[in-house]
Structure formats: structure tokens, C-alpha cells
Symmetry: C2
Subunit: 295 residues, 2 copies
């Protein structure tokens, strides 16, 4: 197992982000191709930046399970682009006036503000189908099923619906956990599993990485909730306090900010426990990064 | 090849419609399952009726190519449910206020009118992913790719975008043809191809059925345009004249009603030509049915 220093970790994150940007540019339909307005809109939202966490997680899980990303890269690269495409579709639809009605995302105009609502709805739909096309392009029906499970009504969409229904009323810790595990957790867990499956992971590896994915997925969203209260607006590229303003179901709202931090730390520790005591790898660095991130 | 009388044909259509209704009920998530509001909304739109033309076409192409729908039915049944799910998703999003802003569909309230816009947006998204999940459940990556191609930006979504962009300005016959071939034709062609592929069609069969699918797909939408002018409101279950009111790009708008009828008849003749002079089968009945339908 490679040893990861913090410098290695930051480098891997930066390389993964650049690689994902390159893959998105390569795999997405050109703006020169009709329907241009639709391709322009979906590229605008895809290229608005972001950590590219889901593709990086898939790549890291792939390499952890023995996949060689320097040879025969086509499958894992397609899966990486698919994961970012499906994530971006969910953001575009989430920002629509009938949903969260957000004007800004990562410091830029949201898709329906930059273009219009019809184009944003269709651009989201387009990224959704492109994600499935790319995933099918790996040749593995298993990862197509994984993606569908992660973003379907038992996963991300179910979480979005529950999130909307919980708005404006007090919620318990268990309810928020349930929403977060589906809305954000399911796709993070799915990203890890998809990378592992494409590398031909053993069932023991897959089982351990599934627990890892579940725990960091929930921790990621708890940290997000906390940053919405105590975060630095400039680092985040969005207004803080929007969850409170929109009366969203959040961990700090249910159990307080300090208890939320403790819960996130416990989850990260739990994620690290799936690895052996002498291991040191990028997935472990990523778990710690998610626990400590400030943007 | 089985001989088809008009009575056989009507019976096959009716059987196919009932079978599809049963499959949809079987494969869609239960209303009792969380998130209930989302499952209720997607079932409402799916069960609002319709001819179930796409699943029936897939089944007919499957049987034509030697698939036996009385044994090992799971694959073709999943594909049939997937095709109706993806069609219904497109209708739900198409009816949204930011798109066509329709209150009625098949004589019933549209999804966003019956529920609300957020639920309708998510119910459409949910049917989209369920369609890919069902298609992947056939075990064939090829049909997942076919579906993605049919509903992606080169197909249905591209047609929807071009349709919106053409609103309110005069269009040529070639432009309308281009819109119709993608917006409606691509999924009809895809339905035929998916049924054929699942039956293990020869490349010669697939080639002929692709031409058949293209021609009936375009004819279907031309007849739809004509019915919007001369159709019987009660048979159609929707207001006639809506295309004119919404300044939509239509065949009659580009070349007149009579020339449109002729064009549809020529396309149906062309579709029938892919079969031998002595053949008589349900796909041929379906082509004639599409050419002559009144609702």
C-alpha cells in the first residue's frame, strides 16, 4: 500500500480534479453540435467548478482494489465523467425556482438564471441520460444498476423529496440522517462502489468500501450543514445561513452544532476503521479531508 | 409468418395495452413505499392511459424476430415497462409551466396541476432513472445504449429543444421533419430496435426494422399534427388547435394539411415495403393503424 503524506493527498486531489475536468470536456457533446443551446447550458453547469469528489472517490476506490488507471483507462474514465454528470444534473434541478430557487451556485449564476427554466430543465435531463450512456459505455450492466440505485427514489431522488417535505418543520436526528444518507450519501457510496466494481473488487473489499462510502457520505453532508452556519462565505462561494433561511432539515438544527461536529468526527473514525492498522492510503486521506474541509 | 386480420390486429393492440398496464403496476415502486408522494405522482401519470404504442412496438418487433414472449419473458417485459416509463417522463416535463404549460393530458390534470411543480419535476426524473434501471435489468448493455441514444440530445431531448426554439416563427418542411424525427421518431425507432435486439435479430432484420421504425415514427407525428387540426376533441381527450395556439412547428403549418396526409401515407407505404410481398404480420397492421388512427 502506498504511503500518503498530506502533500501526496493534496496532489492526488488536484490531479483528480484536473483529470475530471479533462474527461468532462472530452466526453460531453460539443457546444458546436446541435442543439447548441442545450450543450452550452450543460457545459456551463458542468464546468462551473467544484471539488469533483465523486469521480475522485471512484478513481481512488478503483486503484485501491487493484485497478490500474494508467492502462485500459476507458472504463473508469467514463464512470468518473458519468458520476460528475449525474451530480450536476441533480444540482441544476435542485436550483430550479420550483425547488430551492437558488440564483447562485459556486459563486456563479445557476443554470436557469444564466439561461432560462426550460433550458435548465432539459440540460438537467440531458446530463441524466448522458450519465447512463457513459456508464453503459463501460460495458458493465452492474455499474449501470449501481448508478440507478444511487440516484433513484430509494437514493438521491427519495432524499430530495423527503428534504422538500421536511422544510419548515422541526425534525429529529433520525429523520435528518435518513434524508442526508439518501440525498447526498447514496451517490457518494455509489461512487466508491462503482470504482471498486470496475476494478474487479473481491466481495470482502466491496463490503468494506461500502461501509466506508456510507460513513463518509453522511459525514460529508453533516460537515456541509455545519459550514452553512460557521463557514467562510468566500471560501464556500455561496451565502452562508441559507439552510436556516430556507428552513431546511439539518443536523445542527436537530442536535446542535457541537454535537454535529462530534457525529461527523465519529463517522470519519468509523470509515477509517475499515482499513488495517498499518494501512495508509488516499481513501483514508480523503476521509480525513472530508471531516476537516472548510469549503 | 402469422396472418393478421383487422380483428387479430385490434385484439393484439388491446392485449398489448393490458399487458403493459399490468407490467407497469408490477415494476413500478409501490405507493405504500416512501417517498409516497413521489411514487403516487409517477403512478398517476403512468396510469393516466395512452395507447402504450412504444411497448407494443417493442413486443411486436421482438416476436417478429423470433423472440418467444410466452417463455423467458422477463427481459422483454422489463424493456416494455422501461419504454413507457421514459415516454411518460418526457410528457411530464413537457407539460411543465416553463415548457408547454399544459393543464390537461389525456383528459386528466397534468402531473404538476394534480400535485405541484417540484413533485412533477422529481416524478419525471424518477421515471427517467427507473427506465434505465429496468433496461439494465435485461442484462444487455446494448439496449441501455439504444435507450440513451433514443432519448438523448441527438434524439428526443434534442427534438424538444429544437421544438421550443422553433416556436412562433415560420419553419420549412425540412426543419419540421428534423424536429419530429428526433422528438417523437427517435424513441419509436428505438422501441422497435430494442425489441429486435432482445430477440437476437440478425443484422439484416435489424436494418430493415430500423427503416420501418424511422418511417412509422415520423408518420405518427405527422398524423398527430393533422389530428390537432381536424381531429375529434372527444376521441383525442385533449383540446384540438393547441399547436396553432402555441405557434408550434408542424407539418400542416409548413406544407398544408393535404400534403401532410400524403406524406404520412407515403411513409407508411415505405414502412410496409421492408416486408416481403407475401408477408402479413402485426408490425404491418401497426403501420397501417398509425397511418389511419383518429385518436
Amino acid at each position: 500500500m502506498t504511503s500518503f503524506t498530506a502533500i501526496d493527498g493534496r496532489q492526488y486531489l488536484e490531479d483528480g480534479r484536473r483529470l475530471t475536468d479533462r474527461l468532462l470536456d472530452e466526453y460531453m457533446p460539443s457546444e458546436e453540435k446541435e442543439p447548441r443551446s442545450l450543450h452550452e447550458a450543460l457545459r456551463y453547469s458542468l464546468m462551473a467548478g467544484g471539488k469533483r469528489l465523486r469521480p475522485i472517490l471512484a478513481l481512488a476506490a478503483y486503484e485501491y482494489c487493484g485497478g490500474d488507471a494508467s492502462q485500459d483507462t476507458d472504463k473508469i474514465y467514463r464512470a468518473m465523467a458519468a458520476l460528475e454528470a449525474v451530480h450536476t444534473y441533480s444540482l441544476i434541478h435542485d436550483d430550479l425556482p420550483c425547488m430551492d430557487d437558488d440564483d447562485l451556485r459556486r459563486g456563479m449564476l445557476t443554470c436557469h438564471k444564466k439561461f432560462d427554466e426550460a433550458i435548465a430543465t432539459l440540460a438537467g435531463d440531458a446530463l441524466h441520460v448522458i450519465a447512463f450512456e457513459l456508464m453503459a459505455g463501460t460495458g458493465s450492466v452492474d455499474v449501470v444498476m449501481e448508478l440507478a440505485e444511487a440516484v433513484g427514489t430509494s437514493g438521491m431522488l427519495g432524499g430530495q423529496m423527503a428534504d422538500i417535505e421536511a422544510e419548515g418543520r422541526p425534525v429529529t436526528r433520525d429523520e435528518v440522517m435518513n434524508i442526508h444518507c439518501r440525498k447526498t450519501g447514496a451517490l457518494i457510496r455509489g461512487s466508491v462502489r462503482i470504482g471498486a466494481i470496475l476494478a474487479g473488487a473481491t466481495s470482502e473489499q466491496l463490503q468494506r468500501l461500502t461501509i466506508y462510502g456510507e460513513k463518509i457520505g453522511l459525514a460529508f453532508q453533516i460537515v456541509d450543514d455545519v459550514l452553512d452556519i460557521v463557514g467562510d462565505q468566500e471560501l464556500l462561494g455561496k451565502e452562508v445561513g441559507s439552510d436556516t433561511k430556507n428552513q431546511k432539515a439539518t443536523y445542527p438544527g436537530a442536535i446542535g452544532t457541537e454535537a454535529s461536529r462530534d457525529e461527523a468526527a465519529r463517522l470519519i473514525d468509523g470509515a477509517l476503521e475499515v482499513f488495517g492498522p498499518d494501512e495508509d492510503n488516499f481513501l483514508m486521506y480523503l476521509a480525513r479531508f472530508i471531516g476537516q474541509r472548510e469549503s
